[in-house]
Amino acid sequence: MSEAEPSYAVGDRVRILDIGKPGHVRTPTYIRHKVGTIERFCGMFENPEDKAYGRWGLPPIPLYRVQLKQDDIWPDYDGAPGDVLEIEIYDHWLAPAGETT
């Protein structure tokens, strides 16, 4: 299944989506719509958005760590230009950075 294959490689620029899904989702609001870089592929994990409601969360879905510059998250960030945030994002919450949501 194509959705069970990693779509992104380390270094790819990605946009974190707001897919409007309610409930037990693991993509915090503050990071939606932000653009970053794939830092690593973490492996395949059972989907927590399904597991939270008594389902098995199968097939497993790809999980990545995305690195974002703090200045790209908070316009008024007060820190060093090299400060970053790294966060785990599942494949279906990502799009190539060139595409708009």
């Binding site: 693991r26 990071i31 690195q67 966060i87």
Partner: protein, 210 residues
Amino acid sequence: MSDHDHDHDDHAPTREDDDLELTEGEARFLALKSLLIEGGVMTADEIRARMEFNERGSPHQAARMIARAWVDPDYKARMLADTKSAAAELGIEATEAALVTIENTPERHNMVVCTLCSCYPRSLLGEPPAFYVSKAYRSRAVREPRKVLREFGVDIPDAVDIAVHDSNADLRYVIMPMRPQGTEGMSEEELAALITRDSVVGCALPVEPS
């Protein structure tokens, strides 16, 4: 038995001190726990055993691993590559699905937060510090990490980047602090004593040797 002298054996308290009103969350927890036991889904002993298991972890386990990594570059490489296996090498059983070690360097300081709840490598480190589960830390660590660290007494110069790791999904994190100056010749056990709970979350630096 009179109304004023019943022995409460129809419910178990959530905590030792039963003289304060339950919060809404505690009341809900008690109700759910009772339902699970009465419905035969799980036994009180299984719940107790799981709580005991959750509290078996200790920051000292991570301190032993980091002290070994400080003196053994091969072990350090293995710990960075596969933290669970490196724990097992020292007889430490980590049950987290995925455990990752992030190394502090002269160029980058790392800290961990779970903005969504309180994800934490409990089997390795035990229960998280109270600040870690507070809404203030969870919201501010990603927004103004330098200010938060200064409030912990950790002043990271601007020449050193800060990486905040949101432990929001399936990975659990251990920060490997840098070995302090002046620790040459110290034993692994002495080194491990310098590595505190907060230093493996990235909110403190190791204790300076006296």
